[in-house]
């Protein structure tokens, strides 16, 4: 598998002249790019993926295939990957966007400052040029959108249902048919849920005791939908419960788009070209001409295809579109889920011995639905803090550090982290502008993001309500914190799907208006973001776009 991917990369470097025209060019190898490419390759079309494709070439080989606890007690080289060779795993700034990026995951945003610079007065997005994109460090949360989440979209949940299934079958999703089923829907391809740790077990037991009361208040608790394998699937997994999911993918149980790139590379219909930075496209006759820069040497390249799929991440795709259309200085809307952390203490876990066999991802999912399944819901995920090292937590306290360490060793089994995600709607105060770079400087994207007072108050009200329900689970909120506007890393809405003809929008099939054959398959096309991670829906929509293009190319 790996060798196919390597061959693809090497052939691209050695190939001189203009490469042959293909049916479809896909820009980006992230969650949406690979899932748009998959049905096209399956249908027999010639697909070429252009990608910068940065990878972790420092740490992956150092990390043993063992549990976090075992590594901590035995591996003398652990400091290299846990702290980083340049100690970048010791963060001193405030917790913000990308806080969960450990040194072995930091390759995900490597080179973005140079190639895709951003100017902002507070909104600092995490972007990726890596093989697998941002999903290479993704938390694997896969809650599908509910019917009400599609408000403002020109498509409905029923249109995506078959594509949710196709993606679930491809990537492997685990979950339970529990209290959250009415909010998360069902998937035939769903694997059994992963085992939860002692802290989550204790919360579930208490939830069972007070469930009727909590449900009446609109509070529902259950297992999360995760792209985490609990059974072997396509040569991957199942999870070994090594608790190393923030550091490595040794058991290949968590879905990473690179697994799909590797699978696609085994097909003669697919070609992966790394080190390609796509700058712009143009339509000429029946062809799409894509201008890219080969980063191994810097020379310009031209690629031709019948169709182009843009899946370079919301801001990456937006840059390419604005540059191609010469729309420098044009304001384009965007949205981003506001994220709130609530550090809580599960009082029932005080003095309890924690279970060591666990995974590091979300243990539980909470849905706050005061108006039932028909109304808007707020979705949160519950984590236990174990494998991100204690010193990082000690940094957040203001106690003497020796006492802080002592207290944390006692409290860690009970420490519960709730990450709540709020919906986001476009507004005139949330926009980006592409500014032309001077001389050799690259173009830069200027971002402005300001939530209204009403939005902040509404989020605060929901958080208070949710935290109050957690008190019934014997969970005490120690601190609520807002890690900054860009922290969720869920960006969308720059080229929204609409029913009506408008410049810089996409039609319901994902085609960029004003073009014949340029499609958008990533978050750019989502007109708004509901209160739940959009990655799974983005993958399902990318699969839908790929299927629609396949039908169109067949004529």
């Amino acid at each position: 598998m790996q060798s196919s991917l390597e061959r693809g990369t090497e052939s691209s470097v050695s190939n001189g002249g203009e490469p042959p025209r293909v049916d479809v060019l896909v820009v980006g190898s992230g969650a949406s790019g690979v899932n748009a490419a998959y049905p096209l390759v399956e249908a027999g079309f010639q697909v070429r993926m252009l990608d910068v494709g940065t990878r972790d070439d420092s740490y992956e080989a150092l990390i043993p295939a063992r549990s976090f606890q075992e590594i901590r007690h035995t591996d003398p080289n652990q400091h290299r990957y846990l702290l980083g060779d340049r100690f970048d795993g010791i963060p001193f700034g405030p917790v913000g966007a990308g806080a969960q990026l450990t040194p072995p995951r930091q390759f995900v945003c490597r080179d973005t400052n140079d190639l895709t610079p951003v100017v902002s007065d507070g909104f600092t997005p995490v972007e990726s040029l890596a093989l697998g994109g941002l999903a290479s460090a993704w938390g694997a949360g896969c809650p599908p959108f509910a019917d009400s989440d599609f408000a403002g979209f020109p498509i409905s949940a029923s249109v995506l249902q078959a594509h949710y299934e196709a993606v679930a079958q491809r990537i492997g999703i685990s979950g339970a048919r529990d209290d959250l089923l009415p909010f998360l829907g069902d998937l035939q391809a769903m694997q059994p849920p992963a085992a939860v740790d002692s802290n989550a077990q204790s919360l579930l037991r208490q939830y069972e005791r007070v469930r009727p009361r909590l449900n009446r208040s609109g509070f529902h608790l259950g297992r999360p939908r995760l792209a985490l394998l609990t059974r072997e699937h396509r040569g991957r997994g199942p999870t070994q419960y090594w608790d190393m999911d923030f550091w490595a993918d040794k058991d290949r149980a968590v879905y990473r788009p690179r697994w799909t790139v590797e699978e696609l590379c085994t097909s003669s219909h697919f070609e992966y070209r790394a080190s390609r930075f796509v700058e712009a496209f143009a339509e000429s006759g029946d062809d799409i001409i894509v201008r890219a820069r080969n980063l191994n040497g810097g020379e310009a390249e031209v690629h031709r295809a019948r169709t182009l799929i843009l899946a370079a991440g919301t801001f990456g795709t937006t840059r390419i579109v604005l540059r191609s259309l010469g729309l420098y200085g044009r304001r384009v809307p965007f949205v981003c889920n506001p994220h709130t952390y609530a550090a809580m203490l599960n009082l029932r876990m005080l003095g309890q011995r924690p279970e060591d066999r666990r995974h590091s991802l979300a243990q539980l999912c909470v849905v706050h639905a005061p108006r039932g399944t028909a109304g808007p819901t707020t979705v949160g995920h519950i984590y236990s803090y174990r494998s991100l090292l204690t010193f990082r937590l000690a940094k957040e306290t203001r106690l003497p550090l020796r006492d802080s360490l002592g207290a944390l060793r006692l409290l860690l089994p009970a420490l519960t982290l709730l990450i709540l995600q709020h919906a986001d709607e476009p507004s005139p105060k949330k926009y980006c502008v592409l500014v032309r770079g001077q001389g050799p400087e690259p173009d830069r994207l200027e971002l402005h993001y300001e939530r209204s007072l009403e939005e902040r108050q509404a989020a605060d009200r929901v958080e208070r309500e949710v935290v109050a329900q957690f008190r019934r689970l014997r969970c005490l909120c120690l601190q609520r914190s807002y890690p900054g506007d860009a922290a969720s890393v869920h960006y969308a809405g720059t080229l929204p799907m609409t029913e009506t003809e408008q410049e810089l929008t996409t039609d319901p099939s994902g085609r960029l208006r004003g073009t014949r054959s340029v499609y958008v398959a990533d978050g750019s096309a989502f007109p708004r973001l509901p209160s739940r991670g959009h990655t799974f829906t983005m993958m399902a929509n990318a699969n839908r776009v790929g299927c629609l293009i396949s039908e169109r190319l067949r004529g």
Partner: protein
């Protein structure tokens, strides 16, 4: 002449875990300082560090005072750096494992940590006022 970074690393390790780090960990502390700590610290940071190097037993007091007054001070950073290095060393991993204790014992220990924190913070604030105040007067003159 003793290397000041070595002095610091020994003092911090003694303070945090009552252990003595090996030469490899001291070197790692030096490397981390070169990456993470500014070459030209603020005068308050310099004053605290000078004092702690001369009187390592004052470290708990300055740590406590900094936690309240200047949680991002250079001294706190240095303690965190050494804590990170010790935590990622197998020899000291057990010092960072969760502690198994009954609920009452947990509450009692938390109370004891709280009490010790209060006492060291009060003493630390006094010490901080004296040391930083003295250095401030010297700088003004």
């Amino acid at each position: 002449m003793t290397d000041p970074l070595e002095t610091e690393s020994l003092a911090i390790s003694q303070y945090l875990l009552a252990v003595r780090p090996g030469r490899d960990l001291v070197q790692r502390y030096r490397d981390a300082n070169a990456e993470l700590c500014p070459e030209q610290p603020a005068w308050q940071d310099r004053a605290m560090l000078d004092f702690v190097r001369r009187h390592p037993r004052s470290l708990p007091l300055f740590d406590a005072a900094s936690g309240v007054l200047r949680p991002h001070s250079l001294l706190r950073r240095k303690i965190l750096v050494m804590m990170a290095i010790l935590e990622t060393t197998p020899q000291f991993a057990a010092h960072f494992d969760t502690e198994n204790a009954g609920r009452l014992q947990v509450l009692a220990k938390l109370g004891a940590y709280g009490l010790r924190s209060v006492v060291t913070t009060v003493a630390g604030l006094l010490m901080y006022a004296i040391v930083i105040g003295t250095r401030h007067r010297v700088l003004r003159e």
